[in-house]
């Protein structure tokens, strides 16, 4: 899915950071920033705090409840088997199954949620705004429809060496 984008090219980390700060002051929504290395400054400016743990908690709770219902159905309603004189509904052995399925469900569903949210999947081609992103350039990608009139001049003023209009 390519959209019309404005891409600002920078060759200095500090200038990118100041550019991003200025863009944020003007309420421009930044799609993504590409660069040769991970930078704490850029990450903390661009990324939002993750909500994945909350989702994981919900997955875990749902998995626990569903597993309990399943074990209850199998061992009490559908196939009540007297085993060692224990009552058919006895909670302690159910705990083991609930515990394991909760971990399994939480882990796998969280991974799938993460993959879905970030649109990453095995075999996906990496998006590259330009060759320099692997080398010495930073690329700030902004959706065309999100831009305000002076986005270009904002980026130029804070040190962009080039502004591109591309499908990205």
């Amino acid at each position: 899915m390519s959209k019309k984008s404005v891409i600002g090219v920078f060759d200095d980390e500090n200038r990118v950071v100041s550019a991003i700060k200025k863009l944020k002051e003007n309420k421009v929504k930044i799609n993504d920033v590409y660069g040769p290395f991970a930078s704490h400054d850029i990450l903390s400016l661009v990324t939002k705090p993750t909500r994945l743990p909350h989702l994981a908690f919900i997955f875990g709770a749902v998995a626990a409840i569903l597993t309990f219902l399943f074990v209850y159905y199998t061992s009490v309603i559908n196939y009540p088997l007297s085993y060692g004189g224990k009552p058919t509904f006895s909670f302690p052995p159910m705990v083991v199954i609930i515990y394991l399925i909760t971990i399994l469900g939480t882990a796998t569903l969280t991974v799938f949620a993460f993959i879905g949210r970030t649109a990453m999947y095995p075999g996906k081609k990496a998006k590259m705004p330009g060759i320099g992103a692997m080398d010495d350039k930073f690329f700030v990608v902004i959706d065309q429809k999100n831009t305000v009139a002076d986005v270009e001049s904002l980026m130029r003023n804070s040190g962009a060496i080039e502004i591109r209009h591309e499908e990205f």
């Binding site: 743990p53 908690f57 060692g84 004189g85 224990k86 302690p92 052995p93 705990v95 083991v96």
Partner: protein, 385 residues
């Protein structure tokens, strides 16, 4: 860099007063009900031994894992290990209380009991005390060695880090073995016919759980007094993570021990759980599980909530209560057989607590509060989330 801890006179007097209250409780107990008093002395001695061993365990773990974040606070666990010599004296004194506590010391009862005859080559008073001396010699020796290395470091610089790591590793190896055995000796043999191989390990891991709770309380209190101003959210987060982790471990081990016994349903092993789960002990049984597992596990799940000071303080206090209840449940049903929490229990605990705090603060005030030459000190100071 920071000042020494000033041990205020008012605090000394307060703790001394607590000790006096404890002594009154113990004397009162010996007059009215000596058996119950012996059980209480054993209980409180074991509780504070747990805190000491756990604190030193924590201290050693930090060295073995090369942990940087905790370098600022390493004097706290070192001071909290002070109960070891006191515990040794009390274990020696407990010789006079053994008939009240341990069924296997009664020669007549052993003579008519097949199982106890079988166990008597291990469970006899002489060997019991040989083992106790061995345990304490090992623990006190290691504690003394690690403290000496830490004090040397203050003067001579970071020359001794390798030695410190070796000492810590050896200490961990030693306590995993000896504290498990000690727990079996002192606590599990109260129910002489019953056994669980998990029992010692569960209590060993619980030591660090409760020691961290105690250290959190001590640290936050010290911070309120104006020490450790450098401690921030990140350090609190690291401490509270220990609680969260150990709540899971504790719940896991508790459940594993319970499930196996419940499932097998063999009279020799269910005899331990049957009286505890029904009748007068049942409230404490479920309280034990709630305080040590359910409440910390749920409350600490969200890390932003977990590292607020209020939550930390309240949870740590609940955990120390949980520790007391947990050990109470291990000792009392087998020894005095009646759930009876009265003045003796409360006064004895207060007395032991007073003595422990009195000694911990003496040890804290003797050295700089922060190990000045610890190699990871800078990392610890600049720790942030």
């Amino acid at each position: 860099m920071e000042m020494k801890f000033q041990y205020k006179r008012s605090w000394r007097i307060l703790f001394a007063a607590l000790v006096v209250v404890g002594l009154i409780g113990i004397i009162l107990g010996f007059v009215t009900n000596p058996d119950r008093t012996w059980a209480n002395i054993l209980l409180n001695n074991y509780v504070f031994l747990m805190l000491s061993i756990g604190a030193l365990f924590f201290y050693a773990i930090q060295y073995v894992t090369n942990s940087g974040w905790s370098a600022l606070f390493q004097r706290i666990p070192l001071a909290a290990g002070i109960w070891l010599p006191i515990g040794f004296i009390i274990v020696l004194v407990l010789y006079f209380g053994m008939p009240a506590l341990y069924e296997w010391t009664d020669k007549e009862a052993v003579a008519s009991d097949e199982l106890l005859i079988y166990k008597s080559s291990y469970l006899n008073v002489t060997f019991f005390y040989i083992r106790a001396v061995f345990y304490f010699a090992l623990w006190i020796g290691f504690a003394w060695w690690m403290r000496k290395l830490s004090l040397k470091e203050d003067i001579q610089g970071t020359l001794h880090i390798e030695k410190h790591i070796t000492a810590s590793g050896a200490f961990i190896f030693a306590i995993v073995f000896t504290f498990t055995m000690a727990t079996i000796d002192w606590i599990m043999t109260i129910d002489a016919h019953w056994f669980s191989t998990l029992f010692g390990l569960k209590n060993l891991l619980a030591t660090m759980y409760y020691a961290v709770a105690f250290m959190i309380l001590l640290l936050l209190w010290l911070q309120k007094q104006g020490y450790f101003t450098i401690m921030n959210e990140a350090h609190r987060h690291d401490f509270v993570r220990y609680l969260f982790r150990f709540s899971i471990v504790w719940g896991y081990l508790w459940f594993v021990q319970f499930l196996i016994i419940w499932y097998a349903n063999i009279p020799e092993t269910t005899v331990y759980y049957k009286p505890r789960m029904s009748g007068e002990w049942s409230l404490m049984f479920y309280l034990d599980f709630a305080l040590n597992f359910a409440i910390p596990f749920l409350a600490l799940m969200n890390d932003k909530v977990a590292r607020t000071k209020t939550v930390m303080v309240v949870l740590s206090m609940l955990l120390l209560l949980g520790m007391w209840i947990s050990v109470y449940l291990q000792i009392m049903p087998g020894s005095i057989g009646k759930c009876n929490i009265g003045l003796i229990e409360i006064f004895t605990f207060i007395g032991f607590l007073g003595l422990y705090l009195y000694l911990v603060f003496i040890l804290l005030s003797k050295t700089p509060l922060i190990p000045v030459n610890h190699p990871f000190l800078e990392e610890s100071k600049h720790r942030h989330l």
